[in-house]
């Protein structure tokens, strides 16, 4: 049973097999066109595979939206060192729960995507780094891998193509920062998940100091479709420079939360209405976090836009990891800011000063303000400290903490003011009523 009802308006590319009985079985996968893209790619020149991915306008689905084909072209194919494929299945950005479904319902699509990556960059080993909380998925992925070996889709000389590929699962152990690609590399090497200096980029010196192609689950999962149907077909689904579809994880105050696959460029308000069934309880929309909790929030008035990387960037936010959180009018934005900051403070790895100290300071201050013990100068200070972190931390976790906070204090200043000088949270009673 699927976690949520699919919506007939979806453009099902990556999720096309979701809902088919035993969709995770290798036989089902093959029956529905699975592993054909790999066979096709095995006959293509490696550069041609990379070109196809470039043409598809696929951009990384992990959060940063980096053009995937370009990234693939950075891996030095001819390097004498072994090369590795690493799939980032750490999925920890609050609001995001799509990679989970891709692994649960279509694990072979992911394996196939990684294998095609292997063909493209001459890598013969792939590792899927799965967050520790997803233990059941680790078991499922391990079974899928075993099945693929048994059916001759992994191992040496796969289906007579002459290509060898091994695939393994690696468990995380509870650390958001390990989703950051270089921290993930340290983590997979058995160390603290602390980010690395770039350059060198993982493409050149990644896992175990070897060239490494690292992508998100959704990114790899899109690859078989791209190879099978051609990059151009995938690109055509989206908007210029924003190819294909993506899985949006809709959560918060909507009637029908769920994970839905839509083409890039889909209008945001329409999505909330048509897929989410509008704001829960007929309430008014207050704000939207468009792509995971690290994105600047959009006011309801700013939401009449297309959901693609460039449009959202222009609106001052990001498409991020696809975690869209809808917030209704009765929500305390100070509390939202506090909860978001609590997360980043808890997850800061502690490596660099501004992130380590800044997130904790802000967490404490936001808690105090929400408790009604704030003073007027706290409000500008929250903004200022966030800006002191922004762009100055070692990795983007500091930015992830700063960006939503800056947007919330700027856009909801009066809510902060309403909490000052010992006043109770003005939303608390409303909230209780809503629960009753």
């Amino acid at each position: 049973m699927l976690y949520n009802e699919p919506n007939p308006l979806e453009t099902k590319v990556l999720t096309r097999r979701f809902g088919i009985p035993n969709s995770a079985d290798v036989a089902t996968y093959v029956e529905h066109g699975g592993y054909q893209a790999f066979l096709k790619a095995a006959k293509m020149a490696p550069e041609k595979i990379v070109d196809e991915v470039k043409i598809s306008n696929l951009r990384g689905r992990g959060g940063a939206g980096f053009p995937t084909g370009l990234k693939w072209s950075f891996v030095p194919r001819t390097s004498p060192k072994p090369k590795y494929i690493i799939c980032n299945a750490d999925e920890s950005e609050p609001g995001t729960c799509k990679d989970r479904l891709l692994m649960e319902y279509d694990p072979h699509q992911l394996i196939e995507g990684m294998m095609i990556g292997g063909l493209a960059v001459d890598a013969h080993k792939g590792y899927i780094y799965i967050r520790g909380e997803y233990r059941y998925l680790i078991t499922m992925m391990e079974k899928a891998i075993d099945d693929a070996y048994a059916a001759g889709w992994l191992g040496s000389n796969i289906q007579g193509t002459g290509f060898d590929f091994d695939c393994y699962v690696h468990t995380g152990a509870g650390a958001y920062e390990c989703g950051e690609e270089t921290a993930l590399l340290d983590s997979i090497e058995g160390k603290r998940g602390v980010p690395r200096m770039k350059p060198p980029f993982p493409a050149v010196a990644g896992a175990w100091a070897s060239p490494t192609l690292l992508n998100n689950v959704e990114t790899f999962s899109a690859v078989p479709s791209i190879i099978r149907d051609g990059g151009a077909a995938f690109a055509a689904l989206g908007t210029p420079k924003n190819g294909g579809t993506r899985l949006v994880c809709l959560s918060g105050h909507v009637n029908r939360p769920g994970v839905y696959e839509i083409p890039l460029g889909y209008p945001m308000l329409k999505f909330i209405e048509e897929f989410g069934g509008g704001v829960r309880g007929g309430k008014k929309l207050k704000a939207v976090i468009p792509g995971g909790s690290s994105c600047p929030v959009l006011l309801a008035s700013e939401c009449d836009i297309a959901m693609d990387y460039d449009t959202l960037a222009k609106a001052g936010s990001m498409l991020g990891s696809g975690g869209m959180v809808v917030i209704d009018e009765e929500t305390c934005m100070v509390k939202a800011a506090l909860r978001i900051m609590r997360f980043y403070a808890h997850e800061s790895c502690g490596w660099c000063i501004p992130c380590r100290e800044g997130t904790t300071w802000l967490r404490k201050m936001l808690q105090r303000v929400h408790n009604g013990q704030g003073i007027a100068s706290d409000i500008p200070l929250i903004g200022e400290l966030s800006k002191n972190m922004l762009g100055r931390t070692f990795c983007a976790l500091g930015d992830a903490a700063a960006m939503p906070t800056i947007s919330i204090v700027e856009k909801f200043r009066e809510e902060f003011e309403a909490h000052l000088d010992g006043r109770p949270c003005p939303f608390e009673h409303k909230h209780e009523m809503a629960l009753a």
Binding site: Y3, S92, G95, G172, S187, E189, G190, L250, G258, G323
Partner: protein, 160 residues
């Protein structure tokens, strides 16, 4: 230290999947799987994993304190983890956590006197679209209400 044959088999496999000389990579997975069997990350376990992966115990300690799923104190038989992060918060995650505290009579990261349950307020667990969500050990429960939580706890108790 001796482990179950299943765990030993897993360890053996783990030490093989990483490139030659990179067995340190197995530290986190070993700790995770061993913790499930041993109950927590004991000093003895730290030293054992260090020995097996060819690192010194400090290098394992560095890792243990870093990852939030590694625990140096034993948890309850059923570790109830309630997410209160933004998506869950908006739909009652915090109330659910408060309720769990009352029902179980313990606070964050505490264990009930009978050792059956422990409670933890956790960060986003990847169930945002089906919030509020909890995990008991590794099992997910979606759209949880206080009533559903109580029922679940009763059922788990009866299992004993």
């Amino acid at each position: 230290m001796t482990f179950s044959p299943e765990l030993e088999a897993r360890f053996e496999k783990l030490l093989k999947i990483y490139p030659e000389g990179r067995q340190r990579s197995a530290v986190v997975p070993m700790l995770m799987y061993a913790q499930d069997e041993v109950g927590s990350v004991t000093r003895e376990l730290v030293e054992e994993v260090a020995r097996r992966c060819g690192v010194n115990p400090l290098q394992v300690d560095e890792v243990v304190g870093y990852y939030s799923m590694l625990h140096t104190k034993p948890l309850g038989k059923h570790h109830v983890q309630v997410c209160t992060n933004i998506s869950c918060l908006l739909v009652g995650g915090e109330e659910l956590y408060e309720h769990a505290k009352k029902t179980l009579g313990v606070g964050n990261k505490e264990v009930t006197a009978d050792g059956l349950f422990s409670l933890e307020e956790v960060e986003c667990m990847g169930a945002c679209s089906w919030a509020p969500a909890i995990q008991v050990n590794y099992d997910f429960y979606h759209h949880v209400t206080p009533e559903k939580l109580d029922k679940l706890i009763q059922d788990l108790r009866k299992l004993q």
